[in-house]
């Protein structure tokens, strides 16, 4: 049994955990003090050695990303924190920033020093007001305490409701004051990012992981996790589990283990399907309970670790309704820049709405796959790839349910059966 190891979450249960007093009480801002006394390249090397990989979904090695910033180029460098947490199912950065915003500020100071940036921006989605308050206050308090303002400035930037701005180049366009639409790469942000200057864009959890690595060393971090997926991370369990929540564990824990900690699937029900890392990662079923939840393990099984957003659905849930709703989301959030994504997601929704109502023929299932084939990989960014993931994977594992619904000429499931209100009644 893999043991939980709270590092990021270690002090979240203290009522004042978000204050600078609480953070300092637990050794806060010692890591930045240590890092600022180090050569920037040595900081990059330490983070490389730790094996830390991006926690925003792609899993790119963080230290390597920092190392791509050209040095001695006489250009402004920028650090941008992606706090635009919007991937359906993903709910880790929001509670992290609410409970301990200072670890993010301290991580920014260290990362900015490493990449020789004087300015850092934290781009937070606009729909989480209290998180905005906490981070804003933390920045103010860090200035007052002298941690900021001595060569490193942090600016808080609040989004305004656009999933696509979680895509790093769309985020940069948004931060520059344009519509948030992705850019064609190359050039990558490390060469031409914010204001066309060398820029590192990192996820909140990645940056927040850095202070502990600086203090405890690369070997300590390396000692946790699996061969190529090091350290601890936040796994977020939601949906039809008895006790949903955040579980910080070494990479490589399995869903079977996590479910045991969460009290299992809700009483009297069984697992039907789940996402390993948000709605853009192909779904899994009860056949995948023992897959190690690290970057390689999940990829080898045909999906992606993504944001470790484990959304659990039991047998009362219609796979078609679930996939339709995700597809409606992607259609709504497609920024409209690339034709295959803009038009394709629209057509996918039309077909899935019919299928959800039990209208159509088996040929429509092939048409769905054909449209998916014409969308994935044919757009600037990965939104389109995410949009087709639930469709293709659901047809892989639940094609028969689609056919049964067509034969039934109507929905096979009563939506009320999957709600929490039903189980509350049953348990009363």
């Amino acid at each position: 049994m893999t043991k939980l190891v709270p590092v990021l979450s270690a002090h979240w249960d203290e009522k004042d955990s978000f204050t600078i007093e609480a953070y300092t009480r637990h050794g806060g801002y010692k890591a930045s003090q240590k890092a600022l006394a180090m050569d920037p390249d040595a900081v990059i090397q330490l983070v490389k050695d730790s094996g830390l990989r991006g926690r925003g979904g792609a899993g790119f090695p963080t230290g390597m990303k920092w190392g791509f910033i050209p040095q001695g180029d006489n250009k402004e460098h920028y650090l941008v924190v992606n706090a635009d947490e919007s991937e359906p199912g993903t709910c880790k950065d929001t509670p992290l920033m609410m409970a301990n915003p200072h670890v993010l500020i301290e991580g920014c100071i260290i990362a900015a020093h490493a990449i020789r940036a004087k300015h850092a921006f934290i781009y937070i989605r606009g729909e989480v007001t209290h998180v905005v308050r906490r981070v804003n206050q933390a920045i103010e308090d860090a200035y007052k305490a002298g941690h900021l303002g001595n060569g490193i400035e942090i600016v808080l930037h609040v989004g305004a409701g656009a999933y696509i701005c979680g895509e790093e180049t769309a985020l940069l366009d948004s931060l520059e004051g344009f519509r948030g639409q992705p850019r064609l790469r190359p050039p990558f942000p490390a060469i031409a990012g914010l204001y066309a200057m060398p820029t590192v864009v990192n996820n909140v959890e990645s940056i927040a992981s850095v202070p502990a690595i600086i203090l405890n060393g690369a070997e300590w971090y390396q000692s946790m996790g699996t061969e190529k997926s090091k350290g601890t991370t936040l796994y977020s369990l939601s949906g039809h589990v008895k006790n949903p929540g955040q579980f910080e564990a070494p990479l490589g824990i399995t869903l079977r283990e996590l479910l045991e900690l969460a009290g299992g699937v809700r009483e009297g029900h069984r697992l039907k399907f789940w996402t390993p890392g948000g709605s853009s990662t192909p779904i899994f079923t009860d056949a995948h309970l023992d897959i190690p939840l690290d970057y390689e393990g999940v990829a080898a099984a045909g999906s992606m670790l993504g944001t470790k957003a484990l959304q659990i659905f039991d047998e009362t849930t219609s796979i078609i309704r679930a996939v339709l709703r995700w597809t409606e989301f992607y259609k709504h959030e497609s920024c409209g820049k690339c034709t295959p994504c803009r038009e394709g997601t629209w057509w996918l929704v039309q077909i899935l709405r019919d299928l959800d109502a039990g209208i159509g023929t088996e040929e429509d299932l092939n048409k769905l796959l054909d449209i998916c084939d014409n969308i994935a990989g044919r757009s600037f960014c990965a939104l389109a790839d995410g949009a087709v993931a639930p469709i293709i994977s659901s047809l892989k594992y639940f094609r028969q349910e689609y056919l049964d619904q067509l034969a039934n000429k109507g929905p096979l499931f009563d939506p009320m059966d999957s709600t929490l209100f039903v189980s509350a009644k049953a348990g009363a």
Partner: protein, 208 residues
């Protein structure tokens, strides 16, 4: 002119946060909403003038993002998450219940101007599903009944406090100022974390 000299000074300070002024468009649009309640033509013109842009350039940004409203919303803007997970757990039933209870459709505002309703996408609180947001504050673990009680409390002028948020629910305009980056002094109010956020930590301390 709806903007005082103090407002203009605030807008100037927002612009000065950034190395390049155009980056201030988004917080300035939030600021306009904090004064007017939505983004109107006058606000667009003012931002264009402050940033030396064409009004069309500001308008292009304002219309891209769903949080910028082009018509007035309620004093309390209620969003029900109907993305897959919340929808399945009860969000669809909550949204249907509120539409009926308030007598409005999606994006509708009650006749008294108190409450507006919108179905929203995933709001990063899935372990608290089903989730309702009001003025972008968290109301966790909702039911059809609790959501109806919530909007009733708003209409009677005494809104229930958020589950994870400040001690009292502030108005749409006040929240818009926070989103423009203005500190309202409420960061220290409310919980540091709800029970699901702390579950793994609790279990770990129990030695598992």
């Amino acid at each position: 002119m709806a903007y005082s000299s103090e407002d203009l000074a605030t807008m100037d300070s927002i612009i000065k946060r950034y190395p390049r002024s155009r980056s201030a468009i988004m917080p300035l649009l939030h600021f306009v909403q904090s004064r007017i309640g939505f983004v109107n033509g006058e606000g667009i013109e003012l931002i264009a003038q402050l940033l030396t842009l064409e009004a069309a350039e500001v308008s292009a940004v304002a219309t891209f993002y769903t949080q910028y409203k082009r018509t007035p919303v309620g004093e309390y803007h209620v969003g029900v998450c109907t993305n897959t997970l919340c929808a399945v757990m009860g969000g669809d039933a909550i949204f249907a219940g509120l539409k009926e209870h308030l007598g409005v459709e999606n994006d509708g505002v009650t006749a008294d101007g108190k409450v507006s309703l919108e179905h929203i996408e995933c709001n990063a609180a899935c372990d608290y599903a089903p989730v309702v947001m009001a003025n972008w504050e968290f109301y966790d673990n909702q039911t059809v009944e609790s959501a109806k009680d919530l909007v009733d409390s708003m209409r009677s002028g005494n809104p229930k406090p958020p589950t994870r948020g400040p001690d009292t629910l502030v108005t749409w305009k006040e929240v818009s100022a926070v989103l423009a980056g203005i500190n309202d002094g409420k960061a220290n109010e409310g919980l540091q974390a709800g029970a699901p956020t702390l579950l793994g930590l609790k279990i770990s301390k129990e030695g598992k």
